[in-house]
């Protein structure tokens, strides 16, 4: 363990990201006030894949790495829909996931919001409707916001979430 502390003292911060850090700082200010008002200071996100290629999930995982560290923006991923304010829905909504996604939505406390992530859910990318792909619209649930990209990179996801929060007014 001593090695760890030696390194820690020698190189205190190794995740400086000049371009991104200043942007995030600005975003943070805006976010704090919206999340403070609407969600009592913390936004709980449940990430659900409904048949994705896993790149969208990998980018959400990247949000927790030391460069982006989503939690400093008052947002965190939770393990159950019952703890969540919003669902981040990725993937094409496959026939085999369709009813599970409906189930997830029913488990959420209201008001619950669905934010679709990536080109897949709205079938805007390479995957089109077929016998195994239903698309998020077929769920008949309200979709509050959509974040574009294949996959959207971590910064785009953060800005997307900010835009979503602003859209709540």
């Amino acid at each position: 363990m001593i090695k760890f502390w030696q390194e820690r003292v020698k190189n205190p911060i190794s995740t400086k990201n000049l371009e991104c850090d200043s942007k995030l700082k600005e975003i943070k200010k805006e976010l704090k006030s919206v999340i403070g008002k609407k969600f009592a200071g913390s936004l709980a996100i449940r990430m659900v894949s409904s048949g994705s290629c896993n790149a969208c999930e990998a980018e959400c995982n990247a949000l927790s790495n030391p460069y982006y560290n989503l939690e400093r923006l008052c947002m965190h991923f939770v393990a159950s829909p019952r703890h969540a304010d919003i669902i981040l829905l990725s993937g094409v909504v496959s026939a085999n996931m369709y009813h599970h996604i409906l189930n997830v939505y029913q488990q959420m406390p209201q008001p619950a919001y669905i934010v679709t992530l990536g080109d897949c859910p709205l079938l805007q990318g390479v995957f089109q409707e077929n016998f195994a792909i239903k698309g998020a619209k077929s769920l008949g649930l309200p979709i509050a916001y959509h974040i574009n990209g294949c996959p959207p990179n971590p910064q785009e996801i953060i800005t997307g979430l900010l835009e979503f929060l602003k859209s709540l007014g």
Partner: protein, 457 residues
């Protein structure tokens, strides 16, 4: 006699019969079945992993499997419509769900034995899949892995497209292995056309593949200790994997390399890559040195989730898992790679610790390979004409050997089939649980880090 290694088993619909292709490491067997009443003799008593292949054939084509011990549907879930989507006559797009038909899980009975169902939606940020445990207290008696929640009907979707059109779907089958899928596709493009594979281009492609492997291994290098309660490793390694992903973006134009394997080398700064690799190597060495000193971590890693070499062989297991159990399987084990510094990495015990150590070793080897793959810029002619025939390709993805099959007819894809290493490895996962408690499951599963999307198609 040496036992053959089963690589894949799949069906093709011809105009007057069904053809079953079984690919072994040293031969390809073909069997023709009657079209009106197709019945296939199971080989699952000899090869356990043939089970999923055969169950999939049954769901896709409605071919009856004779002598199988497992006749349950695989791809078709409780409400999946009653269809055989891979038959040529099937063209519908929008289909009603059928009534709920319960699936009978593989369980162990007995007094005090209970079941734990996990998934398809998990607590972490991962893909959907279901794990069904039979428990005796904390001990796992049995685990059934049930997948195909991300089934997107990709094989059918690709039919009727030409090779170039198919690319953007093929590279999105499994995001973490996108470059491997693209290389398999490129290999088939090469076989089907008169394309001249330039050495520089080849090196660039291989470089991207190794970079993808490094990112995958780095990610696991963080997530495995994290699942054993050592979060600091995740912070450290996820930083490195983000750095590498940024490099991949610079080199390929995309954070996951989508669209990067093509007919030209993107211009890049060689010195910058060399510098990056030097720093990365140093950091990984530091990490290794640091983590080897955390006894509580190795207490969780050592002798957890063991897959013996003998089992690995009989289940024809692939990739990282196979090499961790002492099997010498790697599709890169050829002259070209060896010339550039490839050394097949091996571990012996086959436990979580082996898989962790193997990943670190492979990172070093991949760093060395990339150094040797750095070369100049080039561009080749994009082929336009493709010859009708059947093509097969093998690529070592970051998970293991990826097999791809494409049959072209009139210049269009008549049958597309691909088998991710995960498809085989998932079937062997339960073997690793026998001596462990359920709390070890996430760790064991993560140490294998298999793909759901690549498995489900």
């Amino acid at each position: 006699m040496r036992a053959q290694r089963l690589i894949a088993r799949f069906a093709i619909e011809n105009s007057d019969n069904f053809e079953i292709v079984t690919v072994f490491d040293d031969e390809i067997q073909r069997e023709m079945l009657d079209k009106d009443e197709p019945i296939l003799k199971s080989i699952s008593s000899k090869y356990t992993i043939a089970t999923w292949f055969e169950r999939k054939i049954k769901d896709d084509f409605g071919i009856k499997i004779e002598g199988a011990y497992d006749n349950r549907p695989l791809v078709h879930h409780e409400r999946f419509p009653n269809i055989y989507p891979m038959r040529k006559e099937f063209v519908e797009k929008d289909i009603e769900f059928r009534e709920f038909k319960p699936y009978k899980y593989e369980t162990v009975g007995g007094e005090g034995v209970f079941e734990v169902a996990v998934g398809p939606i998990h607590a972490g940020i991962i893909e959907p899949g279901h794990f069904h445990f039979s428990q005796e207290g904390e001990r796992m008696l049995h685990l059934e892995v049930r997948h195909f929640y991300t089934y997107r009907g990709i094989e059918k979707t690709l039919e009727g497209k030409n090779l170039l059109e198919a690319k953007e779907i093929i590279e999105r089958i499994s995001g973490n292995e996108s470059i491997a899928y693209q290389l398999a596709w490129f290999d088939i493009v090469k076989q089907a056309s008169d394309l001249k594979y330039d050495e520089k281009l080849k090196k660039y492609h291989c470089l991207l593949l190794e970079l993808e492997r490094i990112i995958h291994h780095l990610t696991d290098m963080g997530f495995m200790p994290n699942d054993a309660g050592f979060g600091a490793a995740l912070s450290f390694a996820s930083k490195l994997s983000e750095d590498t992903r940024v490099l991949l973006q610079e080199l390929s134009g995309h954070r996951f390399g989508f669209g990067s394997v093509g007919f030209e080398v993107k211009k890049y700064d060689k010195q910058k890559i060399l510098n990056f690799l030097n720093t990365l190597e140093k950091k990984v060495r530091w990490f290794e040195d640091w983590i080897i000193d955390i006894p509580s971590l190795w207490d969780r890693f050592d002798f957890t989730g063991i897959l013996s070499k003998q089992k690995a062989k009989s289940y024809c297991v692939l990739g990282v898992i196979a090499r961790s159990s002492g099997e010498k399987i790697d599709a890169r084990n050829n002259e070209f790679y060896k010339k550039h510094g490839f050394v097949l990495q091996n571990e012996l015990v086959g436990d979580v610790a082996s898989r962790f150590k193997l990943r670190i070793k492979e990172i070093y080897n991949s760093i060395g390979l990339i150094r040797n793959f750095i070369d100049g810029f080039t561009k080749i002619e994009k082929p336009i004409k493709f010859d009708d025939a059947e093509y097969m390709s093998y690529v070592e993805s970051s998970i293991g050997e990826l097999f791809m099959f494409i049959k072209l007819k009139n210049g269009k894809i008549d049958r597309f089939y691909t088998r991710d290493a995960s498809f085989i490895n998932w079937q062997a996962l339960y073997l690793m649980m026998e001596k462990d408690i359920i709390a070890d499951f996430p760790l064991i599963n993560k140490s294998c880090d298999l793909s759901y999307a690549g498995n489900d198609l």
